[in-house]
Subunit: 476 residues, 2 copies
């Protein structure tokens, strides 16, 4: 642990909480673009007041980004730090305290936490306290701890470039454009995506990737309209049965995904070792697939059957041979898979099961000619990202986090979710690591979002180590 | 062809149409119980005025039936004739002419039929004319032609008992009770169910059975609530995949139904020969299963996947592992299958695929204990009915129809639809045959229901032959 960080926290935790409360009091939802601009302006001012070069940059039709550079020594590595200052929409009536009235509790609300006043300078701060507000964890915490780290480390070793985005929660539609635009100012030896939670166990976590995304809909056609099942059952094709066969055909005898061309690239030994070292999540409340570990499963592409509809069930059920059956699928891709090609692989698989494929509703002639008739439509989202655990900059980050927490962080080779981080890889050509700060039980995206105060301290320690000017060696 | 019937038609077709129009002008829908009583009263009066013993019998909470007996000679067979006087609900705004204003057209509406006045006595009648009104085909036509046959054959050979029901279109909920109540008065050597249409080709048709019915819902349980598919796809069970496997498991490699215990009884040689002689329906507008003939397919039980739902598709799709997947199934049973036992066969099949079955929503403990978890619920409808083509009374009916049309009727071993005719078999212990009169394009159950006038003539000829007192030999 860094003594610079420890000393600074000891002396200044109340003022760090106070400054964070000031930031959190500004609404940060997409529905209020003017407020988003105030948040960006607040961050810029907080940087500038610390002598840091920071600029608010706006592209047409997008919330601004805050971009800047923290100078270290000339030949030291450059580290990129990303966070986003916007938050998920709020439904204030479901919050225990107003989402933009930062509220301090003695502990977690569900554990009987009680509201207390913010501490005065010199008063002790309990790491189990929770600070409630939208964006307290996701994702304004990294910004405030970077500001605090600047105060803790007046003389820095490493160079830092930072980018704070304002539309992550709406899918970062302009991130690629911003990165292209700011390309030269954002060159770094590694990018740290400071977002997401640490491990459920409370252990620090470094994550090396996210999955890509594509969506697919398979519609199997039966008769041109619903038919009386007594008269025409088995005489007409039942599209639900055909769809069930297709779904089953996509897996091997062990139930594993088996669609030619959809296999991910082979896993490296270090990735497998890293995944094996990550403990499975506990108490999920459902039976877990015993096949492989949770972390390893996330390294494979996923074809998830997110929805299924053919005619009706329950009280709405009618005695018909339905005219069609639809499966909706989300594909979670791993690095190296092109979304459009993966959609084609699924299309080819359906075709290989004997289906004639149409692009729009089939004509009468097509219906009469093809007993197996389907339409496969897809939306190619974006590719996944995965950094090798063998990358020297990655090893540096792991060592740095180890120095902070006195034990190696969990090295998760990939998150399960899909995030468009490929923009960083495409535009900035640097390895990328996700370095979360928030507690796992932060109610991300939900009402009563909060951050554990001890996690702010952890964030401060990480940022101090990243700046690398205290008594810590620089990473890299 | 019977000269008594021909002579009577020649001389009296206008008055038969006139009497029918009088009957059709009385509404006959379940929503108007008072009108149903007027219909029953009209029928009774029409019988009584012809010297026939007829009675309106009412059970509590049910529309009345009209029951009666037509005396023949003492040692002649007794034939039961069933029809129903109620009709499907009407949406008058969709009708070309008001449903209870009988309207005569020169031909079918779709073929450019134009309204004409009802013919006066002595005027010729065209068999291609159509009479439009609710219940014109389904199912008041058999009643009016029986009345006309009484006029045509004053001295009858066969004995006839008749039962005209008033709630067939709502599923005949009191038919069993009526049959039990009227048991002794309804004893007959064969029951003729005069309902449904003749064959598409216009050929006369004798149908020896209907299928039974049961409905089943299979719900496969996944996680206790929808889960983030990025985080938990493949880690949690996807219930849609499990359901697809179950659906596929219910068929053999050739796609035929394969659920132990659900096989129907073996088919007799005569049934197979009869089915083979029925031409397949033409121009259905969809690809037809090339496996077997249409008529033979109806002799097998059918497990029809009438609906399928798991989470959502299309714009409503969300990236989740759905909490459950539901299949709704209608079972079309053949004679000899007990509906409750067939539901049990499906339940046993699901269980044999490794599923733990629950009766209500699973508890948390059940969810954590069983990776394969499902609920199978069923509603046992009623059994099917099938009379052997080898029955001597059936052969007599076939000969009788042959004598009317100068060619053997199509002998369909079973309709595909489900009708609760089992009541006749259970209560009256007589063979049962369906003897339709209406044209196949009668718009049954839909707007613009009609009967082809030539089919009324066919009905008259059949009824005259059944009474058996003209120049025709008696059946049986």
């Amino acid at each position: 642990m860094s003594s610079a960080a420890a000393t600074h926290w000891q002396a200044n935790a109340p003022s760090i909480l106070g400054e964070f409360a000031e930031l959190l009091a500004i609404p940060n939802v997409a529905a209020d673009p003017a407020a988003l601009e105030r948040v960006a302006g607040w961050i810029q001012a907080a940087m500038t007041s610390r002598g840091i070069d920071a600029e608010v940059v706006s592209l047409d039709g997008a919330p601004p980004v805050v971009v800047g550079r923290i100078e270290g020594v000339a030949d030291a590595p450059t580290i990129g730090i990303y966070a986003h200052y916007d938050g998920q929409p709020v439904a204030p009536e479901r919050w225990a305290s107003p989402p933009f009235t930062p509220t301090l509790l003695t502990r977690k609300l569900e554990d009987g936490g009680e509201e207390i006043a913010f501490p005065m300078a010199g008063e002790p701060v309990d790491p189990d306290w929770r600070l409630y507000a939208r964006g307290s964890s996701d994702d304004r915490a990294p910004i405030v701890v970077l500001l605090a780290a600047l105060d803790a480390v007046p003389k820095r070793h490493n160079n830092v470039v930072f980018l704070f985005e304002g539309e992550e929660e709406t899918g970062s539609p302009h991130l690629g454009e911003y990165l292209a635009h700011l390309d030269e100012r954002l060159q770094a030896d590694i990018w740290l995506i400071c977002d997401g939670p640490v491990h459920q166990s409370g252990r620090a976590q470094v994550v090396l990737g996210v999955r890509g995304f594509a969506e697919i809909e398979i519609e199997v056609f039966g008769p041109p309209h619903d038919l009386h099942s007594g008269h025409y059952g088995e005489t007409a094709v039942n599209p639900g049965v055909g769809l069930a066969e297709l779904i089953v055909s996509m897996r091997d005898a062990d139930g594993r995904l088996h669609v030619a061309g959809l296999e991910g690239p082979p896993l490296s030994e270090t990735e497998l070792v890293a995944a094996a070292a990550v403990p499975d999540p506990e108490d999920l409340g459902f039976v877990v697939n015993p096949d492989g570990s949770y972390a390893e499963r996330l390294l494979h592409p996923l074809l998830n059957l997110r929805g299924l509809v053919s005619a009706d069930v329950g009280d709405a059920a009618r005695n018909v041979v339905p005219a069609s059956a639809i499966a909706s699928i989300d594909l979670r891709l791993v690095a190296g898979q092109d979304p459009a090609q993966m959609i084609e692989a699924v299309r080819a698989h359906v075709s290989a099961q004997g289906y004639h494929l149409v692009d729009s509703l089939p004509t009468t002639a097509e219906r009469l000619e093809h007993r197996r008739l389907a339409r496969v439509t897809g939306i190619a989202g974006y590719p996944g990202v995965r950094t090798s655990p063998d990358d020297s900059m990655v090893r540096g980050v792991v060592e740095l986090v180890t120095s902070v927490t006195d034990e190696p962080p969990l090295l998760l080779p990939s998150f399960g979710g899909s995030v468009p981080l490929h923009h960083f890889v495409e535009h900035l050509d640097a390895p990328l690591v996700i370095l979360p700060i928030a507690n796992h039980d932060n109610n991300q995206h939900s009402e009563n979002e909060n951050i554990r105060v001890g996690n702010l301290r952890y964030g401060l320690e990480v940022m101090v180590a990243l700046l690398g000017g205290g008594d810590e060696p620089a990473s890299g």
